[in-house]
């Protein structure tokens, strides 16, 4: 019994550390994006790029470590599969945030002033979805009935993100910007929206995991 307890306690600590790393990744994403919106200078972005790359790599290392720990027979296979699934699913969110920042960095994107407010809103809404995902994951280990509250919130934010995306893309294509720029900006909008789409995928998984245990 004590062996099971210690293994599970260790697992919980690692999951918490992983969530903290992933959250740090998302914080960097938002700070980087807001900073870029202000001066559109890739040099300003560079420290953020380095930071997000490093934090994301650390989060990945932690995730792999958790996955290995799960195979030390501390849990029944069903629980193991569920944790593996949710980790893979959650990990796609900071991955996408990282790829958005790298996209801006490598494409030297110019964001016209008339779109900046919408982009800022889009970044904030998508950033917030991760907070709800992390909350739902923590609820799995604290109060299963709370999971649904967080996932419902993710759904609301995802729909809000979709609405901003659609409005922004319409605005981009009705502007007088060059077509190449329009296409690049549209891609950026879609990529940013993918963050909340991935959060919604994770929420679906979390709902199933909780429902199985609440029958």
């Amino acid at each position: 019994m004590p062996i099971f307890f210690s293994k599970k306690h260790y697992l919980l600590e690692m999951i918490d550390s992983y969530l903290a790393k992933a959250s740090a990744c998302m914080d960097t994403f938002l700070s980087a994006f807001l900073a870029y919106l202000q001066d559109e200078n890739c040099e300003t972005l560079q420290p953020f790029v380095d930071q997000i790359n490093q934090t994301e790599a650390e989060a990945d290392d932690l995730r792999r470590k958790i996955e290995l720990t799960l195979y030390e027979k501390a849990l029944i296979p069903e629980s193991r599969g569920d944790i593996l699934g949710i980790l893979e699913s959650v990990d796609k969110i900071p991955n996408k945030a990282q790829s958005v920042i790298l996209q801006i960095d490598t494409e030297y994107l110019h964001i016209p002033a008339c779109f900046k407010e919408d982009f800022q809103q889009l970044a904030k809404v998508n950033f917030q979805t991760f907070g709800q995902v992390a909350g739902a994951v923590r609820s799995l280990f604290d109060n299963l009935k709370e999971v649904r509250k967080f996932t419902a919130e993710i759904g609301i934010k995802e729909r809000a993100s979709d609405a901003i995306e659609r409005g922004l893309i319409r605005k981009i294509f009705s502007s007088s910007a060059p077509m190449g720029e329009k296409i690049l900006l549209k891609e950026l909008v879609i990529e940013m929206g993918n963050i909340s789409d991935r959060a919604e995928d994770a929420a679906d998984r979390l709902n199933i995991i909780a429902a199985k245990r609440l029958i």
Binding site: F4, K8, L11, L12, K73, L75, I76, P77, E78, S79, D82, I83, L140, F141, D142, N143, L144, K145, I209, K212, R213, L214, I215
Partner: protein, 309 residues
């Protein structure tokens, strides 16, 4: 005493076939090792046989008069039936095979107690029905309880682990109590064994079966059952154990597989899933018909050749 070998052989075959069905879930869930599971199964089967095996012994003994030779023939016929049907991968029940063997002897000697046989047949029919009801009710109650408890992920995992362990033990206990009569009940009636000897030898022979050759059955059967979520698998095992235990108290050995099929259906109904296919129903009917019929034929042939009739 050499005649007892047939009973021990039948008990062993029963252990090989059925003991895995009681503890396989614990092995497949990596909760305990195969060796520990086999040991748990053996110990619980023996306990079940010693504590709860008497009623079944009385029922089987009262089906017809027995001598050492007739008990030998009936057990050997049942063991042959179990062996052949297992090799052919067909559904088999040692309990039903033994009744078929006894029926053959009873028909030849003209001493069959048809009233007791009727009771046994009704219990066979009620086994899947009992499994269905118990499975459904257990699912309903336990799922409600789980919702109220609102356990978090790790506590739930731990509860499943230990509940699975305990229920596997209980399931093995019920198997021992319900099925020990198959191995040595007829020898008790024939006066070759006392009650405590019969339960001990019967229990040991089934336990031996669980310790020796059940690894393959354990993995194949329960890797399939565990495709269900752990809670459903747990309810299934509990329902099977309760069904067997109830019939052990009534004193009629029944088929663990048929109880399991009923329980799967009961759980499925509660989850609004259709888990029972036509092939499962066919398996129940096939089990009902084939095991006793084949054993009956074997016992008549063996009895004739031993000039018992």
């Amino acid at each position: 005493m050499i005649k007892l070998v047939a009973g021990i052989l039948l008990g062993w075959a029963l252990g090989v076939n059925d003991a895995a069905k009681t503890v396989g879930a614990a092995v497949s869930s990596h909760m305990i090792s195969y060796r520990a599971a086999a040991l748990l199964s053996a110990v619980c089967i023996l306990l079940g046989a010693l504590i709860g095996g008497e009623a079944g012994m009385r029922t089987l003994g009262s089906l017809t008069g027995q001598t050492g030779n007739s008990a030998f023939v009936a057990c050997l016929s049942a063991a042959m039936t179990v062996g052949i049907l297992t090799l052919l991968h067909l559904p088999v029940s040692a309990s039903q095979a033994l009744v078929g063997g006894v029926l053959g002897i009873g028909m030849l000697c003209g001493q069959m107690d048809w009233g007791v046989l009727g009771k046994v047949l009704i219990c066979w029919l009620l086994t899947p029905v009992g499994g269905l009801f118990i499975g459904g009710i257990a699912y309903l109650i336990l799922s409600r309880l789980l919702f109220i408890m609102n356990l978090h992920f790790l506590k739930y995992d731990q509860l499943m682990r230990w509940a699975l362990f305990l229920i596997c033990g209980y399931s093995a206990y019920s198997l021992g109590a319900n099925n020990v009569a198959n191995a040595t009940g007829l020898f008790l009636k024939a006066g070759l064994l006392t009650l405590s000897q019969a339960t001990l030898i019967g229990g040991l022979s089934i336990a031996l079966g669980s310790l020796t050759f059940s690894r393959g059955v354990m993995h194949t059967l329960f890797s399939r059952i565990l495709l269900m979520d752990s809670f459903s698998a747990l309810v299934l095992l509990l329902s099977v154990a309760l069904t067997l235990h109830i019939f052990a108290l009534i004193g009629v050995p029944v088929s663990i597989s048929q109880a399991a099929i009923g329980a799967v259906l009961g759980i499925g109904l509660m989850k609004n899933f259709r888990l029972l296919s036509l092939s499962s129903l066919f398996q129940i009917v096939l089990g009902w018909l084939m095991s006793p019929t084949l054993a009956l034929i074997f016992s008549i042939i063996l009895a004739k050749s031993c000039r018992l009739g």
